[in-house]
C-alpha cells in the first residue's frame, strides 16, 4: 500500500505549510498591503482592483477546468456527450474574446488614470530631500536644513516630501514600501519621487536594485515626525553632529557598509556635484523628461541646472 502513505505525507506537508503561512500572517507585516501614505494608498487600491478583475476570469477558468476534466473523462459508461468533430462556435468565441477585452479595458482605464495622476502631489511639496545611493549605503541631504544623514531619513509627517535621487555607484532603486513605490537611482541623473507619511512612525526602506556585494545590507529607515519634532531634530543635528567634508564624502563613497550617521553640514552643492561628476551635463536635457513621471512642475528642476 504505497499510495495512501504518500498521500498522507503530502497532506501533512500541505497542512504544515498552511499552518506556517497563517502563523506568519499573524506576526508579520505585509508592508505593501498596509499603506501609510497617499502614494502607497493609491497603489494599494490599484493592487486590489487588479486582483479582483483578474480573479473574475481566473476563478471561473479553474472551476471550469475541474468540471470539464471530471465530466468528460474517458471512463467506461460515461454518458456525457462526445462530439469529436465539434470544433467551432462563433458565438462562444466572440464571448471569450469579448470578456478579456472588457476586463482589460476597465483595468487599462484605471491604470492610465493613476499613471497620470500619481506624479503630481496634491499640495506643493513642503521639503526636499536629496538621496544618493552609494556602495552600499544611503546618503540623505537636506538642502533646506543644510544637514545630512546616512541610512536614516527623518521627514515631517502629513506633508508631501520631494525626494530627488541619484547614485554615485551602480544603479539602485529607492523603495519605502509603506509610503509608496520605488524609483531607480541612476548615476548622472536626478530623478524625483514624492512621498508622504500620514502619521509619525518608522518606515522600512531599502535599495531594490542589485548593486553587488553589499547590496543586501542597504536598508534604511524613514522616520516621520511631527513638524515641530522634525525641526527640533534638525536643530539638534545642526548643533551636535560632526560636519561632512569633501574628504569625508569620498571616504563614505568607498565600497563598504556604514552605520547610521548624522552630519551638521556638507560641502555646498554636494548633490549637484555628484550628479555632474557622473556625466550629468551630458544628460541635462534628459533629466527634464526623466523626472520619473513623479514630477512636479518643470521649472522646479533639480539643483544641477541652477548649479552651472
Amino acid at each position: 500500500m504505497r499510495k495512501p502513505r504518500l498521500l498522507r505525507c503530502i497532506q501533512l506537508i500541505i497542512m504544515a505549510a498552511f499552518a506556517i503561512i497563517v502563523l506568519a500572517g499573524c506576526e508579520n507585516q505585509f508592508l505593501v498591503l498596509e499603506p501609510r501614505g497617499p502614494v502607497a494608498e493609491t497603489q494599494y487600491q490599484l493592487i486590489v482592483v487588479s486582483a479582483i478583475l483578474c480573479a473574475i476570469v481566473v476563478i471561473p477558468v479553474i472551476i471550469l477546468t475541474v468540471f470539464v476534466v471530471y465530466r468528460y473523462r474517458d471512463r467506461p459508461g460515461n454518458k456525457a456527450p462526445y462530439k469529436p468533430e465539434w470544433a467551432h462556435n462563433t458565438l462562444l468565441e466572440v464571448v471569450w474574446w469579448g470578456i478579456p477585452v472588457v476586463i482589460i479595458a476597465l483595468l487599462g482605464f484605471y491604470t492610465v488614470k493613476a499613471t497620470f495622476a500619481l506624479p503630481k502631489p496634491p499640495a506643493p511639496t513642503a521639503i526636499k530631500v536629496q538621496v544618493t545611493s552609494l556602495d552600499w549605503k544611503w546618503l540623505f541631504i537636506y538642502p533646506e536644513q543644510k544637514i545630512a544623514t546616512v541610512n536614516y531619513a527623518p521627514i515631517p509627517a502629513g506633508v508631501p516630501v520631494q525626494f530627488e535621487v541619484t547614485s554615485d555607484a551602480p544603479m539602485n532603486s529607492f523603495w519605502v514600501p509603506q509610503l509608496g513605490g520605488q524609483v531607480y537611482t541612476m548615476p548622472g541623473m536626478a530623478m524625483r519621487l514624492w512621498l508622504q507619511a500620514d502619521q509619525p512612525g518608522e518606515y522600512f526602506g531599502q535599495g531594490a536594485n542589485f548593486t553587488g556585494k553589499g547590496f543586501a545590507h542597504m536598508q534604511f529607515k524613514v522616520v516621520a515626525k511631527s513638524q515641530a519634532e522634525f525641526d527640533k531634530w534638525a536643530n539638534q543635528i545642526k548643533k551636535t553632529a560632526p560636519e561632512l567634508t569633501m574628504d569625508g564624502y569620498r571616504n563614505l563613497a568607498k565600497p563598504g557598509l556604514a552605520d547610521v550617521m548624522s552630519f551638521s553640514s556638507y560641502p555646498e552643492g554636494l548633490f549637484e556635484y555628484i550628479v555632474n561628476k557622473n556625466g550629468g551635463p551630458n544628460h541635462k536635457h534628459h533629466s527634464n523628461n526623466h523626472g520619473t513621471g513623479h514630477e512636479t512642475e518643470k521649472h522646479d528642476m533639480s539643483g544641477m541646472h541652477k548649479h552651472h
Binding site: A24, A51, V61, D74, W97, P100, G188, A208, G212
Partner: protein, 656 residues
C-alpha cells in the same frame, strides 16, 4: 618561474571554496570515466560518425535534449543552493559574492542554456516529421547551430571552475557589468558564452522558418498545419527579430569592456538606460519565444488526449500571431520605475495588458477542446492539466504587474520573482516536459513509465506551489530579489523556509524523472505501432523511432489532422495503405565542419574572455578556414537506394 606559474594558476582557477574543489574533482573524474568507457568499448569512431558529425535533425534533437537536461540539473543545483542560503535569516552557508554568482548563472542557464535548447530539441525532433519532410531546410546549418550552442554553453559553464563566474545578474545591467564594477573575467564569459550560442539560435530561427514555409508535404496548406508547427513558425519570427538585438547589445558591452568604449557608461556620453532598453527589447520577446512552443505542445496534446479536433483553430492561430506582434511593444514594463514619464508608462501598461487577451483566448479554446471530448489522463495530459490553472494565475499576476503605478510596489520584489517563475515553470517547463513525454516514444521507441512519472509529476506540482506561493507574500512583505541574506526582525523567515521546502520537493521530482528514464530504458512499454497515443498528425504515421529518411514515401495531405483523416479513410476502405512506388531518397551527407568550427569559436571566445588576443585571433582564423573549406565542398549529398529503403521498412514492420 615556479612562483609565476603558481601565481597564474591561482587566478586562472577558481580557488578557496570547497564547493568548487568538489566540482573540480567531479569534472576530472567524469571526463576520465567518459574517455575510459569510449576507449574500452572502442566507441570513438561511433561517436564521431553517428553523433558529432551528424546532420540528422532527430539526432541533433536528441543531443539538444540531453544537453538541456544537464543544464536543468546545473541550474537546479544553483537554485537549491540559493534556497538553502535563504531558508533562514543570517545564514552563513554562502557568502555574498558566491550567492551573486549563483543567481546570475542560474538565470542565464535556465533561460539560455536550458529552456532554449529544450525548445530546439522539440523543434528538431517534431517539426520535420509533422510537416512530412525528410530533414530541415539547411541540415548542415542545423548541426552548426547545435554545436555553437553546445560550445557557448560550455564556455559559460567552465567559468565556475576557471576564472570565476559572472555575478551581475542574468541581464547584466551596466554600470555594474562594466569593467569599472566587474573587473573579473566572469562578465566576459557571460558575453562570449551567450554570443556564440546566440548565433546558433538565430540560425535555428531562420532554418525552421524556411523549413516550415518551403518543405511541407504536398497539399498541406498553412491553415492545415498542426498547431505545434504554427507555434514554431511564430517563434522563429520572434527569434529572427529579437536575437540580433541581443547580439548587438552584448557586442556593445564587449566594446565598452574590451576597448574602453562608452556606450553604456555615463561619462563619455554613453547611457546605461540605453542598455536597459536594448536588453529588454530582446528580453521580453525572449520570454514569448520560450512560451509559444509550449502553447503549441499543449494544443497537440489536448486534442490528442481528448480525441477531438482542436477547438477554434483559426482563433488559435490568430491569437498566436497577435502575441508575437505585441511581444515587441511591451518591453518598457520591465522598468516602469526608470522615469520614462506618465505617457510612456501608460502606453506600455496597456500594450502589456493587451497580451493577456489572446493568451486568455487560447486557454478557453483548450478548455473547449476538452469539452465534449473523451479525456485520457496519460502523462502528457497530466502536465497539460496542471499547466492550465498554474498559467492562469501566473498570467493574472502578470496583468497585475502591468498596472504601471502598482508595479512601483512590485518591481524587483519577490512578487515579481514569483510571477515569472509561475509562467516559466508552470508554462514553459511543464509544457516542454509534456512535449517530451508525448514525443518520447517517437524519439526512442518506448514510453516512459507511468508510475514513476506520477511521482515526479506530483512532487513537481506540489513543490511548485509550496515554493512560489509564499514568494508572492514575501513580495508584499517588502523582500527584494537578489538579497543573499536578511534579518530576523523582518518576519520573512517562515515563508522563506516554506519556499525552500518546496524547492527541494521539485528537486525530488526531477530525481524521480531521471530514475524514470533510466528505468524505462529497460522496462518501458515498447511502441511497435509508431502511433502509441492514437495521434492525429503525420509524425505518428511512421515507425518509432523514425528511420533516418523519415518518410519512405512523402504523404499527400488533404487537410488538418492529416494522419487522423488517413486512418479514418483506411478504416472505411477496409484496406491498409496502398502499395506505392519507392524512389531513391535524396539525403544530406554528414560533416565534421560544424563541430570543428564551433571548437574554433570556443577557442576564440576563451581568448577574448582572458584578453589573450593571440588566442582569439587564432580561433577566428580557424573559423574562417572552416567557412572556406565548406564553401569548396561540393560532395554534400547522396541517394539512398530503393533496396535499402525496402530493407529498412521491412525491418520496421512496414509493408512496402
Amino acid at each position: 618561474m615556479w612562483e609565476k606559474i603558481k601565481d597564474f594558476a591561482s587566478t586562472f582557477f577558481v580557488t578557496g571554496d570547497p564547493l568548487i574543489y568538489g566540482a573540480d574533482v567531479a569534472i576530472v573524474l567524469t571526463t576520465f570515466a567518459i574517455i575510459f568507457v569510449l576507449t574500452y568499448y572502442k566507441k570513438w569512431g561511433w561517436l564521431w560518425r553517428e553523433w558529432l558529425t551528424t546532420v540528422d535533425h532527430k539526432k541533433i534533437g536528441i543531443m539538444y535534449l540531453i544537453a538541456s537536461l544537464l543544464m536543468l540539473f546545473r541550474g537546479g543545483v544553483d537554485a537549491l543552493l540559493m534556497r538553502l542560503q535563504l531558508a533562514l535569516p543570517e545564514m552563513h552557508f554562502l557568502h555574498s559574492e558566491h550567492y551573486n554568482a549563483i543567481f546570475t548563472t542560474h538565470g542565464t542557464i535556465m533561460i539560455l542554456f536550458m529552456a532554449m535548447p529544450m525548445m530546439f530539441a522539440l523543434f528538431n525532433i517534431v517539426v520535420p516529421l509533422q510537416i512530412g519532410a525528410r530533414d530541415v531546410a539547411y541540415p548542415f546549418l542545423n548541426a552548426l547551430s547545435f554545436w555553437l550552442f553546445f560550445f557557448g554553453a560550455l564556455l559559460f559553464n567552465i567559468s565556475f571552475v576557471i576564472g570565476g563566474s559572472p555575478d551581475s545578474g542574468w541581464l547584466a545591467y551596466p554600470p555594474l557589468s562594466e569593467l569599472s564594477h566587474s573587473p573579473g573575467v566572469g562578465q566576459n564569459f557571460y558575453i562570449w558564452g551567450i554570443q556564440i550560442s546566440g548565433i546558433g539560435s538565430l540560425a535555428t530561427g531562420i532554418n525552421f522558418l524556411v523549413t516550415i514555409l518551403k518543405m511541407r508535404a504536398p497539399g498541406m496548406k498553412l491553415m492545415d498545419m498542426p498547431m505545434f508547427t504554427w507555434s514554431v513558425l511564430a517563434t522563429c519570427i520572434l527569434i529572427i527579430f529579437a536575437f540580433p538585438i541581443l547580439t548587438v547589445t552584448l557586442g556593445l558591452l564587449f566594446v565598452d569592456r574590451f576597448f574602453g568604449g562608452h556606450f553604456f557608461t555615463m561619462d563619455g556620453g554613453g547611457n546605461p538606460m540605453m542598455y536597459v532598453n536594448l536588453i529588454w527589447m530582446w528580453g521580453h520577446p525572449e520570454v514569448y519565444i520560450v512560451i509559444l512552443p509550449a502553447f503549441g505542445i499543449f494544443s497537440e496534446i489536448v486534442s490528442t488526449f481528448s480525441r477531438k479536433k482542436i477547438f477554434g483553430y483559426k482563433s488559435m492561430v490568430f491569437a498566436m500571431m497577435i502575441i508575437s506582434v505585441l511581444a515587441f511593444f511591451t518591453w518598457v514594463h520591465h522598468f516602469f520605475t526608470m522615469g520614462a514619464g506618465a505617457d510612456v508608462n501608460a502606453f506600455f501598461a496597456v500594450t502589456t495588458m493587451a497580451i493577456a487577451i489572446p493568451t486568455g483566448v487560447k486557454v478557453f479554446n483548450w478548455l473547449f477542446t476538452m469539452f465534449r471530448g473523451r479525456i485520457q489522463l496519460k502523462q502528457p495530459m497530466l502536465w497539460t492539466l496542471a499547466f492550465i490553472p498554474c498559467f492562469a494565475v501566473g498570467g493574472a499576476t502578470g496583468v497585475m504587474l502591468a498596472v504601471a503605478p502598482a508595479d512601483y510596489q512590485y518591481h524587483n520584489s519577490y512578487f515579481l520573482i514569483a510571477h515569472f517563475h509561475q509562467v516559466l515553470i508552470g508554462g514553459v517547463v511543464f509544457g516542454y516536459l509534456a512535449g517530451i513525454y508525448y514525443w518520447w516514444p517517437k524519439m526512442f521507441g518506448f514510453k516512459l513509465d507511468e508510475r514513476l512519472g506520477k511521482w515526479g509529476f506530483w512532487l513537481w506540482n506540489i513543490g511548485f506551489y509550496v515554493c512560489f506561493m509564499p514568494q508572492y507574500a514575501l513580495g508584499f512583505m517588502g523582500m527584494t530579489r537578489r538579497v543573499y541574506t536578511y534579518g530576523w526582525d523582518l518576519g520573512w523567515a517562515p515563508l522563506n523556509f516554506t519556499s525552500t521546502v518546496g524547492a527541494f520537493l521539485m528537486g525530488a521530482g526531477f530525481v524521480f524523472q531521471i530514475w524514470q528514464i533510466a528505468y524505462s530504458i529497460k522496462h518501458g512499454e515498447r511502441d511497435r505501432t509508431g502511433d502509441p497515443w492514437n495521434g492525429r498528425t503525420l509524425e505518428w504515421s511512421i515507425p518509432s523511432p523514425a528511420p533516418h529518411y523519415n518518410f519512405a514515401v512523402i504523404p499527400q495531405v488533404k487537410g488538418p489532422d492529416a494522419w487522423w483523416e488517413m486512418k479514418k479513410e483506411m478504416q472505411q476502405d477496409g484496406t491498409k495503405k496502398k502499395p506505392v512506388q519507392l524512389k531513391p531518397i535524396h539525403m544530406p551527407k554528414n560533416s565534421g565542419i560544424p563541430f570543428i568550427m564551433s571548437v574554433f569559436w570556443f577557442i576564440a571566445g576563451f581568448g577574448f574572455t582572458f584578453s589573450w588576443v593571440w588566442m582569439a585571433v587564432f580561433g577566428l582564423i580557424g573559423v574562417g578556414i572552416c567557412l572556406l573549406a565548406r564553401s569548396f565542398q561540393y560532395d554534400t549529398d547522396y541517394y539512398i537506394p530503393v533496396k535499402e529503403i525496402e530493407r529498412t521498412e521491412k525491418a520496421l514492420g512496414r509493408a512496402v
